[in-house]
Symmetry: D2
Subunit: 350 residues, 4 copies
């Protein structure tokens, strides 16, 4: 029963086959291969828009490089205080942008409200050289709390950012889960809603390594090109990453996998509710955050369930009592209904 | 007939199987998986020494992070003027060390002579805060010119660096080819000869992505740990990279592959010699640099052979005449004797 | 009537004489002159402690270099959200530390409460390489709001920081005003209260250019030495800055000047109170922030008074009404009682 | 007898008066004062060209900021291997440009020949994102060896740089000495000869602190504006620096002072020649590099003469014998003929 993280899962069989296939024969290095070239058209079809894209090995690098397309070294990035770019990357955005400042905003369920953004921008200095320049808003979709911005919701938030001259970045390490949950098109939740740069991650969704910076304004690509090279993120056998993307994006495989993970999380969520437990936040994608007695958490762990307690968190949802704790359970493409059922059985027995 | 680069080749079947195997089931992320943990013992056995190591997605990142273990942001790195770190990484070492200076040294066949190093160090300033501090020597093994430092040769060179307080880095993107060519142990050509930090690359040798910073003094690891994270090089599904390393290092597979590539290069080299062509540098690993008439280069290309002409090169070996050019032919684990023979046939017919 | 800022004033006659004197004859460059050497003993006498110090041309550089003594490139600095380092330096601390993150804390009158610091630290991640490392607390003394930390107050705050392993920096661009206001010794409000690094500024107090990084732990000096040089802050004719410091520190001249400025601010403050105006924060040093009708502000300006309105401020004190505004009036060593009286006359006539 | 460096001298009386005058009364901070504003017109009159300029406290900062106007973080700067930017700034250009690479070129007397530049550029990679981009040539005028580029000479050199797309920077820490020596206009030896960015330094020429980045293309100023702020180089009481510049530039005072220093050096040079000593390089500005017996150097020092031996130097001029050494003697505005005569007397007596 592995619910620790979706990046503990392996690869989907289709992706595995694509990797194996890509390993045969010769191909040009550094992204000049046929697969990488083919991926451009595939991405443009998926997003219904011209794009510039960069395959990058990690989500952290993808986020940092995407932000560097929007934010100069003297810029400010606004993001949720518990977002990955703020809390989990040890300052990679600062490093790769060579000095940008990240400012953390509060918000229930890891989502930022337009009023919070406006208030933060009101407090920031005017855009002159004596002050850091507010340059980008970064949102996470789906968020670290398993919540999802609706299309209308995101449109308002991104609009507030753009009205002040900020660019909009979306950390889409779980973009597939969000799109599957919303039932919208990738275009509707990205550029149509105001997103300029997307970190498009499929690693957590059943690939080994499939992350890309996707820019909806190719003119922003030049700055990223250099930074990617200088940060050591130009993979020589890039076709292997492209192959994973292509396999994922064929016939909606990526959304099928994400939809499955979401369904498994919903099954978990229902089970907790049925057993009378509250959730810290609603389950909107593939993560569930039940509030349980600390004793129960220990019992589940003792029985071999894999999950994390969620420690230094912005509890702006339902808060645990003193003898309670918040669990984070992540479902993945590989989670089987019987795994969930077994876990819920332990819960009921707990 | 693919001789453009060894990174155009695919993956060896054993590596492919290991990748497929690693994709099944669950494993802890970010290098806490069993495969990555097992790799430590394997590396220590191979190198007969305690090591700290970091799996990193690209050779450029590996080099830069390895250098950052030896060189502060105000340091100087000495390397051959045509080495990868100087000429091919767009300033990644400067970026990742946050400001170190690279100084290019001359030397025939991309190798640095001790006297050249000494002379460069003599001209450098004393180690006070008013001047950049000479901090590291970086050598490439096998070099960009397909040449190889002998054990004794490297020991003298590294000794000259260490006598001045510099650390020694080895860019081993083709380390396997060098070890196979020398017939020595990995220990003899690294820490026993004075190497402190090795970029150990197996990507060119038949992996998809297998690069590691190997530090023979684990105390140097702390600085790298942070920089790796901040530069976005902590791969979530690290087991996939570890699996490739483990498959390579099992039963000497890495040396068998490299030995084959070297043999194919030797066959090419002999063919050129037999046809009366000079080499720009001796063929000591898996690269051959024949000097041929420009017309012949065009004919070979027209017949479908893949290779590069070697343009802005430090010709300190035999120089081409005005109507000649230097080709770079790289053999890989995947090169077959019949490919070489077919190519040499074209040459003879040319 | 110049109340725009204390850095609009010129130099005190004693400082002017010292500059003139320093300009005669020859002296070693780069801080090897007699005046700079003499300054060490003077500072150590004033602070009753061994110090390492660096003369630096600007307050921004002083703050950034002082922070770099406490905070690595992957560190976090906590400071008030309206402090100079956060709001007024365009990211200089990020630039000079090569990537540290500044996190702004709230607090009335630009002062941070221990509970606010504790809460912020509670939300920050554990000190591992996956997260930025909380490294320093920066306080401003006297603050941007003209408020002053008491000795006991600062001791508690600094203690809370040190208990978590953070170093403590004091931005003392108006350190003299704070010491004069508190009537304590410089030692009591710095190292005895827990301060590790002081930005000691006397430029606003009647010098042309007199700023110094003062480190109470000389072992921290090495990192600053290199950064100062590389950031271009080693002044060749350093004696000229040392001369200003020495003149200031002779016979308590610095405290006499600051005490005068404080007294002038108190006279202003009393005048506003007497005329029935509130202050946004209490006047504790040489700045006064009266809340006045917008119409009055315009009239005063029209009559030639020089001051700033205080725009994007954390109004955690008394807030202005819709038709009111907050003025910032700064008194300096050069402010004369008759200037204050003339201004208050305008106010009463307003 | 102070010949150690021109920055050991004090200030010219006219500059001292200007400093004193600037210290009276109030003035806007951060360069918004009348003196700084007046300086723009003065500089434009001197250079017969529109300029953007930045007053900066040190020569190192001036050089680094000027280079940052020409060179991105992924750029290459070519300069003489013994130039100040390469050998004496501890990597400040790398720090302030956030990663540019400096490549040192050889050349007799610290001057670069066009052919040397061309050869270096020929060896550099093509301008794509895989390689650092050659961006700027930096020349020193007058050089560290006291030599001076003639107008025609510089025009050819700068033209070679510009033909390859490089910008041209001039380190003019001793610009006044060069202009006085050449007898040309400041325009002729800067923008008319191809210079884009000048480090205009008058500190060594009799000021306390007077250095400016002068850009002949104001469009390049934007990048410098931010970097200057972030590197902590915006001086609050800027009028004091402006006052020194204005006093220097009034009625040719700067050239009178420099001409005097040059004449004193010429007197020294003649004295050495008359006594039969060789010079390492011809004396063309205010520095003299005589080759003398080591024993004599010791005797002169013992008698109280202040000078440096010139240690790790590119001896591409006349080389000293084993028992000889090269002295560096620098004359300044403050050097008196009788000082020179006394020194030469010691020499003859030596």
């Amino acid at each position: 029963m592995y619910f620790a993280s979706d990046n503990w899962a392996g690869v989907s069989p289709k992706v595995g086959e694509a990797i194996a296939e890509a390993g045969r024969g010769y191909a040009a290095a550094y992204g000049n291969d046929d697969l990488t070239l083919a991926l451009k058209a595939r991405l443009e079809a998926i997003f219904e828009h011209e794009v510039a894209f960069f395959l990058v090995p990690t989500g952290t690098a993808t986020n940092s490089l995407a932000l560097s397309a929007l934010c100069p070294s003297y810029g400010i990035v606004l993001a949720h205080e518990e977002s990955h770019v703020v809390a989990e990357e040890a300052g990679a955005p600062e490093f790769i942008t060579q000095g940008a400042r990240l400012i953390g905003l509060k918000g229930a369920g890891n989502k930022i409200l337009p009023a919070t953004l406006e208030a933060a921008l009101d407090r920031l200095p005017p855009p002159d050289w004596g002050h850091p320049r507010p340059s980008a808003l970064s949102v996470t979709q789906a968020s670290e709390c398993g919540t999802v911005y609706g299309v209308a919701e995101l449109t308002v938030l991104a609009g507030a950012a753009k009205a002040r001259g900020l660019g909009v970045h979306m950390d889409g390490a779980r973009f597939a889960n969000a799109v599957a949950a919303l039932g919208c098109t990738p275009a509707e939740i990205t550029w149509k809603a105001g997103v300029d740069a997307l970190s498009f991650g499929l690693t957590k969704n059943g690939a080994f390594m499939a992350e890309a910076v996707v820019l909806f304004d190719p003119a922003r690509a030049e700055a990223v090109r250099w930074r990617r090279k200088r940060a050591g993120h130009v993979v020589s056998k890039a076709r292997f990453m492209a192959a994973q993307f292509l396999a994922m994006l064929e016939d909606g495989h990526w959304l099928a996998l994400a939809g499955h993970a979401n369904a498994m999380a919903a099954q978990l969520s229902s089970g907790f509710s049925a057993s009378g437990y509250r959730l810290a936040w609603p389950c909107e994608a593939n993560e569930v955050f039940p509030i349980v007695p600390k004793a129960l958490a220990g019992q589940l762990e003792a029985k071999g369930a894999q999950f994390h307690e969620w420690p230094w968190q912005a509890y702006d949802g339902a808060a645990p009592a003193a003898d309670e704790t918040v669990l984070r359970l992540v479902a993945s493409f590989a989670t089987r209904p019987e795994d969930v059922e077994a876990f819920l059985g332990m819960l009921r027995a707990g």
